[in-house]
C-alpha cells in the first residue's frame, strides 16, 4: 500500500486532468486476480467490480477520488510569466513562495521582495489572481513553448518521512484513499464489492454522481482525507480529528447527513476488530458521499476518512498507523455485508 501511495503522490492529477493517476490505477487493477470488470466512463471515472468468495446481491461500493487541488494556467504574459487560477479550495496563504510543476516544468510562485512591501502587503496573503508563476522563461515566446493556457500545475513537494510514523507529501487528499482501495482490490474479500476511483471531486463532487449512476450501489463507503487541526494554537472544539487517532467516522458534514444504521455498522465492526476509530467532531467539509447519496434512487452512505494535517497544502501530513488501521477497517467492511435498509 505504501508503494502505491508513494507512486500516486508523485503523479500530477489536478481535477479534470487525472490521466496519469488513472493510468497507474488501471495498471494495478489489471493485475488483480479478483478484479472482474474494469471500465472507464465518459468523465474518466474508473469503475471496477471485484469478486469475493461469495456473491452479494447488492455489493458495497468503495469510492475514492483521483483528482487533487492545484492550479490551471489562464494565460502567459509578455514577460514570460504564467497567470493562473486555483483549482479547488487552496488557502491563499500556502501559495506564496512555493515551488510548482507546470506540465512537469519547475516553476515558482512569488512576487516583489518583502523589503519593498508595505505593512499591509507583508501581513496579508496575496490573491492568486495577483500572483504569477515564474517558469524561467525570458519572454512570451519562450514561455509558450513550455506552457499553454488550460495546462495545469501542482505543488512541487515530494514524499518525506517525518518522525513519529508521520510522513509528508502532496495530494494525500485523496491518493491515500486511492492507495487503500488498490490494496483492497489486491486481497480476496468474502463478498463481491464495487470500486470507483472518481474525477473532479475537488471542483464540486462532479465525477462521483456519474460513477454512482452507472454502478447504482445501495450502499457506498467513501474513503477520503479529512482535516486534522490538532495543531498549534487551534482550540479543542475546532480540531475536527487527530492524527494517529485512527480512521475518522462522520455523522454529518457540509454535504451529507450520513445513514445512521450504516454508521453504527461501521463503528461496531471496528470495535469488534479492535480497530481504533474517532469521530469527526465538526460539521465541516464534504466528500463524494454527498453526490453518491443523491444519485438515481439514492444510496445509503458512510465516510471513512484519513486524519490529515495541512490538507490542500503542498505539505499534507498523515500517520502511517492511520492508513494501516483504515485498511483493516475497509477489509472488515468488505467481509461483512451491512443489514438491509430498515
Amino acid at each position: 500500500m505504501m508503494t502505491h501511495l508513494k507512486k500516486l503522490c508523485a503523479l500530477p492529477g489536478v481535477s479534470g486532468q487525472e490521466d496519469a493517476v488513472r493510468a497507474y490505477i488501471l495498471h494495478v487493477l489489471r493485475q488483480c486476480d479478483a478484479v472482474a470488470e474494469i471500465t472507464v466512463d465518459p468523465l474518466g471515472n474508473v469503475l471496477a467490480r471485484v469478486a469475493g468468495r461469495k456473491r452479494a446481491a447488492q455489493p458495497v461500493l468503495f469510492a475514492a477520488h483521483m483528482d487533487e487541488v492545484g492550479f490551471i494556467i489562464t494565460g502567459v504574459t509578455d514577460e514570460g510569466y504564467c497567470r493562473f487560477a486555483p483549482v479547488g479550495g487552496i488557502d491563499p496563504r500556502v501559495i506564496y513562495g512555493r515551488r510548482v510543476l507546470v506540465n512537469g516544468h519547475p516553476g515558482l510562485i512569488g512576487g516583489k521582495a518583502v523589503h519593498m512591501c508595505s505593512e499591509e502587503e507583508k501581513t496579508k496573503a496575496a490573491r492568486a489572481d495577483k500572483l504569477l508563476i515564474d517558469i524561467g522563461a525570458a519572454d512570451r515566446a519562450q514561455a509558450e513553448q513550455l506552457v499553454q493556457p488550460g495546462d495545469t500545475a501542482v505543488f512541487d513537494s515530494e514524499y518525506t518521512r517525518l518522525q513519529g510514523g508521520l510522513f509528508k507529501a502532496r495530494a494525500l487528499d485523496d491518493r491515500a484513499g486511492c492507495a487503500l482501495l488498490l490494496a483492497l482490490a489486491e486481497r480476496q474479500a468474502d463478498y463481491d464489492f464495487l470500486l470507483a476511483f472518481t474525477v473532479q471531486e475537488e471542483v464540486g463532487l462532479r465525477g462521483a454522481g456519474a460513477a454512482a449512476f452507472s454502478l447504482s450501489p445501495a450502499v457506498a463507503v467513501v474513503v477520503d482525507a479529512t482535516t486534522a487541526a490538532d495543531t498549534a494554537g487551534v482550540p479543542e472544539d475546532k480540531r475536527v480529528c487527530t492524527v494517529g487517532g485512527g480512521p475518522v467516522l462522520s455523522f454529518m458534514d457540509k454535504q451529507t447527513l450520513y445513514d445512521k444504521a450504516l454508521f453504527e455498522h461501521v463503528r461496531t465492526l471496528a470495535e469488534d476488530a479492535h480497530i481504533p476509530t474517532q469521530l469527526k467532531t465538526l460539521v465541516a467539509g464534504g466528500n463524494d458521499a454527498g453526490a453518491i447519496q443523491r444519485t438515481g434512487p439514492g444510496a445509503r452512505v458512510a465516510a471513512v476518512s484519513l486524519p490529515c494535517r495541512y490538507l490542500h497544502s503542498p505539505s499534507c501530513v498523515l500517520a502511517k498507523k492511520d492508513l494501516t488501521a483504515t485498511l483493516a477497517l475497509l477489509e472488515t467492511l468488505a467481509d461483512h455485508l451491512p443489514a438491509d435498509a430498515p
Binding site: 506564496y96 515558482l108 512576487g111 518525506t160 517525518l162 465538526l282 501530513v317
Partner: protein, 342 residues
C-alpha cells in the same frame, strides 16, 4: 567546476545563524585558488593570494556566507516547535514551508503548520506572527526536547533546481550567488600573473546586521574592496524604478557609502568589455556588507556589485547563472588591469 555545480554545493549547505556547513563548503571551494585560507573567531572564511610584488595594493573581494533562517525558542505541549527568525524572513512564504532543524543527531525535517481550511473563514487572509506558527516534525515532545532544544538552528529545506535554461532556484541564493561570483572571478584569474594581492572574505552574520564583515575587514586591512551581494530583480508587481532586471548583468552600486570613482570605473569597464551591466542607485547606505567594510579601520574605498535576484528571503529565490558569471568576469577584468581607478 562550473557555476551551476558551485552553486548547488553552496546552496544545499546550511549556513543560518552560525551553522558552519556552508562556510566549510565555501572554504573547500576557495582553497585551490588561494595561497592560504583561514577561519576567524566569528566563523568568517578568509583567503589570501599574493602576487609576489613588494608593496602591491591589497584588494578585498567579499560575499556573505550566512543565510536567513530560524532559531528554536520553545516547544509547546502538543509537540510543535516555535522559532524566531534569523534575518528578515518573508513570513508570507511560511505556511506549509519545509524546514530542516540542525540540532542533536541527524538534521530533522519539519513543516510550518498552515491554517486548516475550515478555520480560514474566520481568519481571513492574515498571517499569524512567526512565533505563533508551530512547526510539525512528528517527533514526540520528550524526544523533541532532546533533538531540538532552544537555540537549535533551522534553515529552509534545500531544494536546488534549474528553472528554464539559465536560471536556478534555491534557498540561500542570497548570498551564495555572490560567493559563486567570487569563485568565478578567481577561476578566470587562476593562471594569470597579477599586480595586486587578493584577499577574499566569505562573511558570517550579514543577515543579522552586517556583523561578520566588520571583523573580517579589520583583519584583512585592505586598500580597496568589492562586496558582492544580491539585489531586487524586477517582478511585475514591483516598482520598476526600485529594481534591476534579471539577466541584465551585475548591478553596479552607486551610493554615498560607496566609493564613487570605483562605481564609475566598474560601470565603464563593463561597457568597454561588453559585459552586460546595470546601475543601482541607493540614496544612503546600501544595507549590505559594503557599508561595514567601507567604515573598517580608517576607512576603505569600497564598491558593490549586486546580482539581480527574484523572491528574496523566501524558500525559493531565483537567479540567472549568466548574471553570476558576468559579475565574476567584471571583477576579474578590474583585477587584471591592476585595480586602477582615480
Amino acid at each position: 567546476m562550473d557555476t551551476f555545480t558551485w552553486l548547488e554545493a553552496l546552496c544545499t549547505a546550511a549556513g543560518a545563524g552560525g551553522l558552519e556547513e556552508a562556510a566549510e563548503t565555501a572554504r573547500r571551494l576557495l582553497a585551490p585558488y588561494m595561497d592560504e585560507t583561514a577561519v576567524d573567531a566569528l566563523g568568517n572564511v578568509g583567503g589570501l593570494r599574493r602576487c609576489g610584488k613588494d608593496g602591491a595594493p591589497l584588494l578585498l573581494l567579499e560575499a556573505h556566507i550566512d543565510e536567513i533562517g530560524f532559531i528554536v525558542t520553545s516547544l509547546d505541549e502538543k509537540g510543535f516547535l516555535h522559532v524566531s527568525p534569523c534575518g528578515g524572513v518573508d513570513a508570507r512564504a511560511l505556511p506549509a514551508a519545509e524546514v530542516m532543524f540542525y540540532g542533536e543527531g541527524e538534521p530533522l525535517p519539519g513543516v510550518f503548520a498552515s491554517t486548516p481550511p475550515h478555520l480560514a473563514d474566520t481568519d481571513g487572509d492574515g498571517f499569524p506572527a512567526i512565533r505563533d506558527m508551530g512547526i510539525d516534525t512528528g517527533l514526540e515532545v520528550k524526544k523533541l526536547k532532546k533533538r531540538c532544544p532552544p537555540g537549535t538552528r533551522a534553515t529552509f529545506r534545500p531544494h536546488f533546481r534549474r528553472i528554464g535554461e539559465t536560471r536556478v532556484s534555491s534557498k540561500a541564493l542570497d548570498d551564495r550567488a555572490g560567493v559563486a561570483a567570487v569563485l568565478a572571478c578567481l577561476d578566470i584569474l587562476k593562471d594569470q600573473a597579477l599586480t595586486v594581492d587578493l584577499a577574499v572574505t566569505f562573511a558570517v552574520q550579514e543577515e543579522l546586521g552586517c556583523r561578520g564583515s566588520a571583523v573580517a575587514a579589520y583583519a584583512a586591512d585592505p586598500d580597496m574592496a568589492i562586496a558582492v551581494d544580491v539585489s531586487f530583480a524586477h517582478t511585475p508587481d514591483a516598482d520598476r524604478s526600485k529594481c534591476g532586471v534579471l539577466a541584465g548583468g551585475p548591478m553596479v552600486g552607486y551610493a554615498p557609502s560607496l566609493d564613487t570613482a570605483l562605481s564609475r570605473r566598474l560601470y565603464a569597464l563593463a561597457m568597454e568589455r561588453d559585459i552586460p551591466c546595470q546601475r543601482e542607485v541607493m540614496p544612503g547606505d546600501t544595507g549590505t556588507d559594503a557599508d561595514a567594510i567601507a567604515s573598517a579601520r580608517g576607512g576603505v574605498r569600497t564598491g558593490l556589485l549586486s546580482i539581480p535576484l527574484r523572491y528574496m528571503h523566501t524558500p525559493a529565490e531565483l537567479v540567472d547563472i549568466r548574471d553570476i558569471e558576468d559579475t565574476g568576469r567584471l571583477m576579474a577584468a578590474f583585477i587584471a588591469e591592476g585595480g586602477a581607478c582615480q
